[in-house]
């Protein structure tokens, strides 16, 4: 488990450093994801302990957003003030984004090998 955590935290740290040094418009962990991805390509496989530790984190990914979500507490007055604009923008724009992206990808992506076998 420690080598796996070391790989994840090491990539994150390297990502944070790259973002700061190169002034990239990305969060450090996203750059860390790219670094780990390149590492897996070079190594040609996912070591079992890394797969296990990452699986445990990703199985509970939504939980990790709860502390930031509770921050809504600090903005309740501001949200109450402009609730109509905020809720309309969030609901309509999120639905539209889902549909535009999903439709574009369904239309443009080449059929998958599995689909061809089924049909």
């Amino acid at each position: 488990m420690v080598p796996a955590l070391l790989a994840l935290l090491g990539c994150q740290l390297a990502g944070e450093l790259l973002v700061t040094l190169l002034a990239l418009p990305l969060p450090g962990p996203v750059v860390g994801m790219v670094l780990l991805f390149v590492g897996l390509l070079v190594r040609r496989g996912v070591p079992a302990p890394l797969a296990a530790t990452s699986g445990a984190l990703l199985d509970n990914l939504a939980l990790l957003f709860v502390p930031a979500g509770v921050g809504v507490l600090l903005h309740l007055p501001r949200l109450a003030e402009s609730w109509a604009a905020v809720s309309a923008a969030l609901i309509v724009s999120t639905a539209l984004t889902l549909l535009v992206t999903g439709w574009a990808m369904s239309l443009l992506a080449p059929p998958r090998a599995e689909d061809r076998r089924d049909g």
């Binding site: 962990p29 996203v30 990703l58 990790l64 709860v66 724009s93 999120t94 998958r112």
Partner: protein, 238 residues
Amino acid sequence: MDDLQDVWVYLSASPLLHLTLTLAAWQAGRWLQARAGGHPLVNPVLVAVAVLVALLLATDTDYARYFEGAQFVHFLLGPATVALAIPLYRQLHLVRRSAPALAASLIAGSLAAALSAIAIAGLFDAGPALTATLAPKSVTTPVAMGIAEALGGLTSLTAVVVILTGILGAAFGPSLLRLARIRDPRAQGLALGTAAHGIGTARALQMGEVAGAFAGLAMGLNALATAILLPLLWAWLV
């Protein structure tokens, strides 16, 4: 009664209480979700946030005190984001084959997210600061805050707007995609990651590894695309 008071004072000063409450509220959300047969409104993030906000208001606890305990959970977001490289690596053959479609769909989704948010804010006369706060709502929190700041938005409100977008997308996204007959897991994942960043990605991972891999990639690429495109759009539109 005084003893109880002492226990409360002791507990509320240590990170243990709010860390435990965060996990308990989450577990309650998971339990309710299972009981409700997966009804979209019973989203565990939504339930956990609502329960915790109510508790903090009722006990007059400020957010900084809460976060002393909850930061241990929050911290894991970084390594978990790095870990998204693993589903991506495992589904590389699918990603590589659909790369041009993926890039085009992602840019279309990124523009749709920013333009529609700006248009709706305009419709409601929201003013430039609130519009700049809403425009990057589909982008993962740290990047969204950076963009909002550059455009003159309210950065800390941006964080809240981003989380609410994620909860909304994760709760209703899968049903909406099904209604629209979008059944390809690559398209479902890409849509959830583009519209609802990490929370959408968490939901996509529950749908399967293909959807999860495309969602994680979409989250990262949409952060990049919006960071580049939105300031240009903004200079042109506003």
